[in-house]
């Protein structure tokens, strides 16, 4: 059985990726979550979908470096990992962050530093085994900073550079790094943006795009795919136009 791991396994996007993976084949799957009880319910569902798979939960602090190290060590002790998806994140209230540096620091570390450190820890293990794939969930918000969410965007932007660096480091090897950039997707993270709901992408479709992109070992996967073009335009808008936009 192939060995998979998902960090932030209660994320709706990650859960839907797991469902797709498990319908294709039985897996040995480790779910990393900060809250075991919430993860149990995900596991219950996955076990029904794939009774032949072996699924376990590791509960832990996903932010402290030593805890990240412990978690990754525990996963890799049992054998080489074929594929990891690093999915946790939180969409903060930008204004609240602006008025509270401690809060900003926390959001920057949950959305930027923590996933980067997970990637680093897994990458170090994979550099020894010489193979494996790491999917990191960034965001289209990381492509260009904007006033309504630049704390979150900056953290996601960090992941872009981080993934680039890892891709450079592992070029020509069998270690594959995929950076995933979802656009707005209907999940609990965006539930409060109520009237946007129907305009956002469906989480099942986003997960399918991620799974397909990772299977093709793409370096960057926009999900849904149209965001590749939208963000290309946004990134290239001259500043005098961009700065007049209320986004």
């Amino acid at each position: 059985m192939k060995r998979y791991a998902i960090v932030g396994a209660t994320s709706a996007i990650a859960e839907h990726c797991a469902r797709i993976w498990l319908t294709k084949e039985d897996l040995d799957l480790t779910l990393v979550a900060r809250n075991k009880e919430r993860a149990e319910s995900v596991v219950q569902d996955l076990r029904v979908r794939s009774p032949g798979s072996v699924i376990r939960i590791i509960e832990g602090d996903l932010v402290t470096p030593s805890s990240i190290e412990d978690i990754v060590r525990e996963i890799c002790q049992a054998g080489d990992v074929d594929c990891v998806l690093i999915a946790h994140g939180s969409l903060p209230d930008q204004e609240a962050c602006q008025n509270d540096l401690a809060r900003s620091a926390n959001e920057l570390s949950v959305n930027g530093i923590s996933p980067a450190l997970f990637a680093e820890a897994f990458a170090n293990k994979m550099s020894i085994s010489g193979r494996g794939q790491i999917g990191i969930i960034g965001s289209v918000a990381g492509d260009r900073g904007r006033k309504s969410n630049y704390i979150y965007g900056a953290a996601k932007g960090l992941l872009t550079r981080y993934a680039q660096g890892l891709q450079h480091r592992f070029a020509g090897t069998d270690v594959v790094i995929t950076l995933v950039k979802p656009g707005p997707t209907q999940t609990p993270m965006t539930a409060h943006l109520s009237d946007e709901g129907p305009k956002m992408a469906d989480v099942t479709a986003v997960a399918q795009t991620i799974v397909n992109g990772m299977a093709k070992e793409r370096p960057v996967v926009y999900a849904p795919g149209k965001w590749l073009i939208i963000m290309m335009i946004i990134r290239h808008l001259p500043r005098f136009i961009f700065n007049r936009m209320d986004i």
């Binding site: 709706a12 319910s41 995900v42 979908r49 609990p188 009237d195 946007e196 129907p198």
Partner: protein
């Protein structure tokens, strides 16, 4: 957000409120009446609540357990029927009852107590439900089944979402040998032949359905398709590309000419398929799911579906009269579905099926002309002591509803005062 149901007859503002696992209805919605909304595959206003809050249940999409010996599946309210079929058919299990589309939620199917092509052998959807968990807007949580708190169960199965919000349910899946069905296509050239074929087929065929051409009153001809699950395991179908109606045409593509041409074409296309065949369950159960958004072809004014059931004894003359009325009106719809319901009692107080014959027809919305035709059809249904299906309804008169559903007053005792829908306000006054 502007929302329409499947018939696209209205488009009204509804707040978008996703229902979460942890939500507490009594804390979160103190001011406005709520209604649960699954996939909005109901045709009229049973799933709409324009002046209140609409809770979208699609995020509640987890399975809780499956027992591979008994076939019992426990899942959350928003799981899609299609997901169950896709995941379990390869494992040798399938839903015991399914409507003609798989894009509906489990709780939506239970709240309308849907039926399938096997009503004569399996009864309605709720006949296979072991228990359900209901959350009331006052915070009470109720677990009920046909044997425990059965009053709640009978009110909630077919209860049109009005007794509370279903959070979880347990259903028994049915073992199958294969994802394929052995089908036989037959023809009938009048209603007597249809009834005879139905009677002949009910004992040995699990599924029966027929399509009747109602564009002409000369011949009430139709195609009768019966099927059983195949015993030889077959290949699963590759996921094909779906056709779709990408935009709403400025006028209805459904008019007298296109209807009779379509009916002719459909009829002759099937003539070549007469006899025994094999069909994958996807194409047999869900023929219209292959065309995404087919409801758009009726144009910006939308369309009505009129689905009636007439008790057995009165069946043939009433269906005869209905078909005559329609072809005389010249508003004949595309193929209409005709099927007999068996004698399995419906568990729900407001479940639609009763022993007899059901007919479902689509009509483009042509305003007064259409409503006048419906008035004439209503009279026939009422006279024959039949009733209309709330899942498809957007216009039935209140007295047809109260006469058709004699258990209504018993049902009302279970209603949740914090819940209301377009349909409940129109037909029940609350």
């Amino acid at each position: 957000m502007k929302l329409r149901s499947w018939g696209r007859l209205s488009e009204e503002e509804h707040p978008y409120i996703p229902l979460s696992r942890a939500s507490s209805l009594h804390i979160e919605h103190p001011d406005k009446k709520i209604l649960a909304h699954g996939m909005g595959r109901s045709y009229g206003d049973v799933c709409l609540n324009p002046v209140g809050n609409l809770l979208f249940t699609r995020d509640l999409d987890r399975f809780l357990s499956f027992n591979p010996v008994s076939g019992e599946l426990v899942c959350e309210a928003g799981v899609l029927l299609g997901d169950i079929q896709r995941i379990f058919a390869p494992k040798g299990w399938m839903l015991p009852v399914t409507p003609g589309t798989q894009y509906v939620t489990m709780a939506g199917a239970l709240a309308n107590d849907v039926h399938g092509k096997n009503h004569h052998s399996q009864g309605c959807f709720s006949s296979h439900v072991n228990w359900l968990k209901l959350e009331r807007t006052d915070g009470e949580l109720i677990t009920c089944s046909p044997s425990e708190k059965s009053g709640w169960f009978e009110a909630t199965a077919g209860g049109l979402g009005l007794t509370g919000v279903i959070k979880q349910l347990s259903i028994n899946l049915k073992p199958i040998e294969s994802s394929w069905l052995d089908t036989e296509t037959l023809f009938f050239s009048n209603l007597s032949e249809f009834f005879q074929l139905s009677e002949e087929s009910e004992a040995n065929w699990e599924y029966t359905v027929s399509w009747i051409d109602c564009s002409s009153n000369k011949h009430k001809r139709g195609i009768f398709i019966r099927a059983n699950h195949s015993e030889i395991p077959g290949e699963t179908l590759p996921a094909g590309r779906k056709l779709g109606i990408p935009f709403v045409p400025p006028f209805s593509l459904v008019n007298g000419l296109s209807v009779s041409a379509f009916n002719q074409a459909y009829f002759y296309a099937h003539k070549t398929k007469r006899g025994m065949n094999k069909s994958h369950y996807q194409s047999y159960f869900y023929p219209l799911d292959g065309i995404l958004n087919w409801n758009r072809m009726y144009g910006p004014r939308g369309f009505y579906q009129y689905q009636l059931v007439i008790p057995r004894q009165a069946g043939q003359p009433a269906i005869d009269a209905v078909l005559d009325e329609i072809s005389t009106s010249g508003q004949g719809s595309f193929l209409s579905v005709l099927k007999t319901f068996g004698n399995k009692p419906s568990p729900g107080l407001l479940s639609f099926p009763l022993e007899g014959v059901t007919l479902a027809l689509d009509f483009p919305n042509r305003g007064k002309k259409t409503s006048q035709l419906f008035d004439r059809l209503d009279a026939i249904v009422k006279e024959a002591k039949g009733r209309l299906y709330p899942a498809k309804d957007a216009r039935m008169p209140e007295d047809l509803f109260t006469n058709g559903y004699p258990n209504l007053s018993q049902f009302t005792a279970y209603r949740d005062p914090g819940i209301s829908s377009g349909l409940s306000r129109r037909l029940m006054g609350w």
